[in-house]
Amino acid sequence: MTRDLVVQFLAQGAQMAFVLLIAPLAVGVVRRVKARLMRRQGPPLLQAYRDLAKLLRKESVIAESASWLFRSAPYLIFALTWVAAALVPSFASGLMFNWAADVVALVALLGAARALLALAGMDVGTSFGGIGSSREMMIATLAEPAMMLIVLTLAIAAGTTRLAGVADFFIAEPFGVRVSLALSLISLVIVALAENARIPVDNPATHLELTMVHEAMVLEYSGRHLALIEAASHLKLVLYLSLLICLFAPFGMAPATAGLSGWAIGLVAWIAKLLAGAVLLGVWEVSIAKMRVFRLPDFVGVAFVFGFIAILLAFLTRGVFA
């Protein structure tokens, strides 16, 4: 019993370490793929790690008008995102603590990180910080209803809102082509693009443009604070990729009862799928242009409509109209 508990603890700790360590690599893969497709040499795969190390070595310059909130927010944002990322089942479905938050709580944890970031953006009192914060919160109001519809569809299909439960359900019940799940997948991809400030919602490579959202919020950060914010956004990308993998491609994931060998297979499968997701994201980003801010309601609205149709189809397949 105690040995079990220790193993479980180690597994949970291992997952926290894995997501933290692999996050910059995923970002490196995205950047590299984009660069190669644009016929550029591109940065080395490990550049994101070097950037973080460089930022940690630099001194932090803080605006005179900044308050304690500005200095403490990066730590909280990083911790909230890290915990949220560790709660998504990655290589095994039944780890120690991923029962503690279901998907509703997970979305809310990310919401807390976002609210803190938006507050930090307004703290210094500049126009760029404000523009980033207000647009970020506007995008959140578009994305969250769509996310809720996805959660509802999954809950109807799997009968639970616990991610591990949903993953177990899909592992145990290999599904054929279910239209409602396919629509949910598209919907979740759009939400993930919006939440991670990726093209076409926001351009992570841009800087000093009036169109930026995420970068505008963090414009005043430097040194170790900026490193934490950057690391948190890398973690968030891995979180959403893991979420997509866990919900729509859970094959290979170790079930709750698996031993160490199952976990090893699960880990390899997860990393492979994660990197594949990063490549796909890179390909997607070079093939589409960034949208104007006020075109976003149309784009994220697609996620909402697909989410809604998915639920109605889920009602049909469950035969509730009969």
Binding site: W68, V83, A112, M122, G130, S134, M138, M148
Partner: protein, 645 residues
């Protein structure tokens, strides 16, 4: 009465509220009941009082708010801030709210309800020299009267032709289904108008902010809960077994109220009015939860009914804490700066550090962010919505995704709204001389806010304990309860339905976040360059010292206005840009139309005035014509009597 005598009002109110709260708590935990009949009131009815677990729960909510508001009142300056127009009415208002909860017959209920309305009206009109206040008070009086008339009908329907006005008689003789449905609608109008359910909400954002801030805290944080109590008492206790379609009006109106309330809040620039609009939103959420509880109960899905009811009741408790906290914080800002327009504030986190910290807790809690208390009830509400597709009625199926999406939209808008409020009032640089010269409030007022902030944190971590304490009420109203604290992985796991389905464990998550942030703090400080330099803001290289270059509350709302305002308020932006060479300044204007006000207030108001002008002729007739009118009336009445008999 002079200042020194008035100063005793608050300590005594606080003491009385503590005593009443302890009694309530004792009744709730022991599940006991106490009833009595006073020989006053109407001759044959008397004045019945009863304290059961439902009243006790709401009593705890109310007396908690009264204690906080009284503590805040104790910080007032004895000479300058106490007036005979406010202080004597404060305990009357608090007592009337307590009385509504323990009323056990229709007469006692309506009498205390009216007392509560009038006392709060008098508090709203305390600053009667301000025409805005007078307008707010006038509208409030009209709406309160409409609400009471509706409640009068509701109790008439409950009493039936036999006239059994005591609640015991009503319970044993529930009305016929058609009458019961009418009673429910009347209760929805009566309680909804007090709670701010759209379209009966228009008085609330005017009247709540017009009162002194600690009274605003009571009205918004607590009096709206009395309205909820009235609805719960009538719909779940007195009306007998529900029909499933009763659930639709509260759910639909509640969801509309939640979204529209926040859209109003996000566009408003007055701090206290924003808070009042957000109260409307929260009342909407509670009505959605109550509607879902009705639907589940009508289908005998008691576990789901318990989840929905727990969501409603916990949100009642949570909202009373954070809304009181936020209104007291708004009062502190008003006291320190003399302003409540968001665009004139800024940078208060430097000058009012404690108020800023407490307000931040309230703002994050009301945005339903974990691990604070607002999220506990929001989580339960989402679980109830997720269970709604299991209901057998097709209308409720189709409603459930729409309701879920609207609630998610409301949650996201709430976060946007309170980031905007906090970001413009407390963060950034001061936008006016008053904001630059602000100072923190007296210690006892800080204590009032600090206590509520502590409760918001504690309630967030101990949500499962609170839910367990509600078990007797849930059992009575919903016919079920949440799984007990022993059935989850830890004693503090909040469980909806069963542990395999949905768990939210706030202490574990909070622990993980705490460990993660502390580890990060230590590791980053070990590894990194620790030096920190203060410098001018970077702002892309062109920092402007003028505070006018910051984002304001209006500019923060602009994206939301463009996305949602066009549909909800026919919002239109016009930019007049003079051609090059012309030295006229460019102009920007926004037109926002309040459709609800036009349809439900302005149009009926015009109709009433038009009609009364027509009928005004009747006032100036000759005596002959009056005699003719009377004769005609008599003939008509007699012929009606002849036909019907």
């Amino acid at each position: 009465m002079r200042g020194p005598a008035l100063a005793f009002v608050y300590p005594l109110s606080a003491l009385a509220a503590v005593v009443l709260g302890v009694v309530d708590l004792q009744v709730l935990l022991s599940g006991g009941e106490a009833a009595t009949r006073l020989p006053i009131g109407l001759p044959t009815i008397g004045f019945h009082l009863r304290l059961d677990t439902l009243s006790a729960f709401f009593g705890i909510v109310i007396n908690g708010g009264v204690v906080a508001a009284s503590l805040y009142g104790m910080g007032f300056d004895r000479v300058k801030e106490l007036t005979p127009r406010v202080e004597p009415l404060f305990p009357l208002f608090a007592a009337a709210m307590n009385l509504v909860l323990i009323a056990d017959d229709a007469y006692a209920f309506l009498f205390s309800w009216e007392l509560m309305s009038l006392a709060s009206w008098a508090l709203v009109v305390a600053r009667h020299t301000d025409p805005e206040c007078r307008r707010a008070a006038h509208l409030y009086l009209v709406m309160a009267a409409i609400g009471t008339v509706a409640l009068l009908f509701a109790f008439g329907g409950l009493a039936g032709p036999a006239g059994g006005y005591t609640f015991d008689t009503v319970r044993t003789h529930p009305p016929q289904p058609m009458v019961a449905a009418l009673v429910l609608m009347a209760a929805l109008v009566g309680c909804g108008s007090k709670g701010g359910l759209i379209p009966l909400h228009a008085w609330l954002p005017l009247a709540h902010p017009a009162a002194p801030s600690h009274v605003s805290a009571l009205m918004s944080g607590v009096m709206t809960k009395v309205a909820i109590y009235g609805f719960v008492r009538i719909a779940f206790d007195l009306l007998g077994p529900p029909a499933w379609w009763w659930a639709l009006p509260p759910i639909v109106l509640g969801a509309m109220t939640a979204v529209l309330g926040l859209l109003y809040a996000v566009l408003d620039r007055d701090l206290k009015r924003v808070l009042a609009y957000s109260t409307i939103e929260n009342v909407g959420l509670i009505f959605v939860a109550l509607g879902l509880a009705l639907a589940f109960r009508a289908n005998a899905q008691h576990a789901a009914a318990a989840v929905a009811m727990a969501a409603a009741l916990l949100h009642v408790l949570n909202h009373s804490w954070f809304k009181s906290l936020l209104f007291l914080g708004a009062g502190a800002i008003l006291h320190a700066t003399g302003r409540r327009d968001l665009d004139g504030l800024g940078g208060l986190i430097h000058r009012m550090p404690r108020t800023a910290a407490f307000f931040l807790v309230g703002a994050l809690a009301i945005s339903a962010l974990p691990p604070l208390n607002g999220f506990v009830s929001e989580w339960l509400l989402f679980q109830a919505v997720i269970a709604a597709p299991a209901l057998p009625q097709a209308a409720l199926h189709f409603a459930s995704p729409a309701i879920g999406a609207m609630l998610a939209l409301a949650a996201a808008l709430a976060a946007a709204c309170f980031v905007r409020v906090y970001g413009t009032a407390f963060l950034g640089r001061p936008r006016s001389a008053e904001a630059a010269g602000a100072h923190d409030v007296p210690l006892v007022q800080q204590a009032a806010m600090g206590g509520l902030a502590f409760l918001c944190i504690l309630g967030g971590l101990m949500g499962s304990v609170l839910a367990a304490a509600l078990a007797p009420v849930l059992d009575k109203l919903a016919g079920g309860a949440l799984p007990g604290p022993g059935s989850g992985p830890t004693p503090f796991s909040l469980i909806a339905f069963d542990p395999a389905r949905s768990i939210y464990d706030a202490p574990i998550i909070a622990l993980f976040v705490a460990i993660a942030s502390l580890t990060t703090l230590i590791v980053v400080h070990r590894l990194s360059e620790r030096r920190t330099r203060r410098g001018p803001a970077w702002d892309c290289g062109f920092p402007d010292p003028s505070p006018a270059t910051q984002y304001t509350a209006s500019s923060f709302a602009q994206p939301l206005r463009r996305v949602y305002g066009a549909a909800a308020f026919a919002a239109q932006e016009t930019v007049v840009m003079p051609p090059p060479g012309d030295i006229r300044p460019a102009r920007f204007s926004v037109v926002v139309v309040d459709h609800l006000w036009r349809a439900f207030y302005a149009a009926p108001g015009r109709a009433v005035i038009g009609l009364s002008e027509r009928l005004n002729v009747l006032q100036f007739l000759t005596i002959r014509r009056y005699l003719v009118l009377m004769f005609v009336t008599l003939v008509i009445l007699l012929s009606i009597a002849a036909v019907t008999t």
